[in-house]
C-alpha cells in the first residue's frame, strides 16, 4: 500500500503492508484505519487506487489533491 503527502506524514511511513486478498475496498479502508488510527480522518476523504491504469501490484491512497 503506497501513501503520499499528508497521508504518509500522518502514518509515519510511505508504505504499509496490509493482508487484503479478498473483500471490498471498504474492508481495506477499515483495516488501514485500524492499523494507523492517525490517518483515519484523511483516509475518509481519500480515493483508493488499485492496479489498473498503471503497472503496479499494490493499492495506493490518493488524498485530496493540491497541485498547481
Amino acid at each position: 500500500m503506497s501513501l503520499f503527502a499528508g497521508m504518509a506524514e500522518a502514518a509515519g511511513c510511505r508504505r504499509l503492508e496490509v493482508a487484503w486478498t479478498a473483500g471490498t475496498v471498504a474492508d481495506l479502508r477499515a483495516q488501514l484505519a485500524r492499523l494507523r488510527p492517525a490517518i483515519a480522518g484523511l483516509l475518509a476523504k481519500s480515493t483508493i487506487a488499485l492496479d489498473g491504469r498503471y503497472a503496479a501490484d499494490a493499492a495506493t491512497v490518493i488524498p485530496p489533491v493540491s497541485g498547481g
Binding site: F4, A49, A55, I62, V65, S66, G67, G68
Partner: protein, 152 residues
C-alpha cells in the same frame, strides 16, 4: 494536426520550450499560463513549496486532460508541465500552453485545464512557513485551506 503533450519535471520549467511546443501555422492565438509559488497565502509568509505526485497516475492524468482540452476546445496544440520537488517562491510550478485558430478557445482551454488539474491530478503541495512549519495541503480535509478566489 492537433497535438497534446504533458510532462512532470524535477527542475525549473523552461516556459519558452513549453510555448515552442504549441507553435503551429494553423494557430492565430497562443496562450501561456504560468502558475508561480506565492510568497504569502492567507496572510502567512511561505518560504517555499514542495510538490509530490503519484507519478504514473499524475503523468497519465495530465496527458489525458491535455488531449481532452485539445479535442473539446478545438485547439491546434496543447502542452502542460508540472514541476515536482522543492519550488522556491516566485518560481513556476506549472505551465500550460494552448494554441488555437482564435484567442477565445486558447484562453478558455488554459483556464479549464488549470481547474481540472487542481481538482483531479494526484499532485500534492507542502507549504513551508517562515518558521519552518511544513503543512501538506489536502483541500477538503484541511480547515486551514484558504478561501478560493472569486469565480474559482
Amino acid at each position: 494536426m492537433a497535438h497534446a503533450w504533458a510532462d512532470l519535471v524535477e527542475g525549473p520549467i523552461d516556459t519558452a520550450a513549453v510555448l515552442a511546443r504549441v507553435a503551429d501555422t494553423a494557430a492565430g492565438a497562443t496562450v501561456l499560463f504560468v502558475g508561480t509559488t506565492r510568497g504569502i497565502t492567507a496572510g502567512r509568509v511561505t518560504r517555499g513549496l514542495e510538490y509530490e505526485a503519484h507519478e504514473p497516475l499524475a503523468a497519465a492524468g495530465l496527458r489525458e486532460l491535455a488531449a481532452e482540452a485539445t479535442r473539446a476546445f478545438g485547439l491546434t496544440a496543447c502542452a502542460v508541465v508540472h514541476r515536482l520537488g522543492a519550488v522556491p517562491v516566485a518560481a513556476a510550478s506549472v505551465a500550460i500552453a494552448t494554441s488555437a485558430p482564435h484567442r477565445h478557445e486558447a484562453f478558455a482551454a488554459a483556464e479549464w485545464l488549470m481547474e481540472r488539474i487542481k481538482r483531479e491530478v494526484p499532485i500534492w503541495k507542502c507549504e513551508e512557513a517562515a518558521d519552518g512549519t511544513r503543512t501538506w495541503v489536502h483541500p477538503e480535509a484541511s480547515p486551514a485551506q484558504p478561501v478560493p478566489e472569486p469565480g474559482r
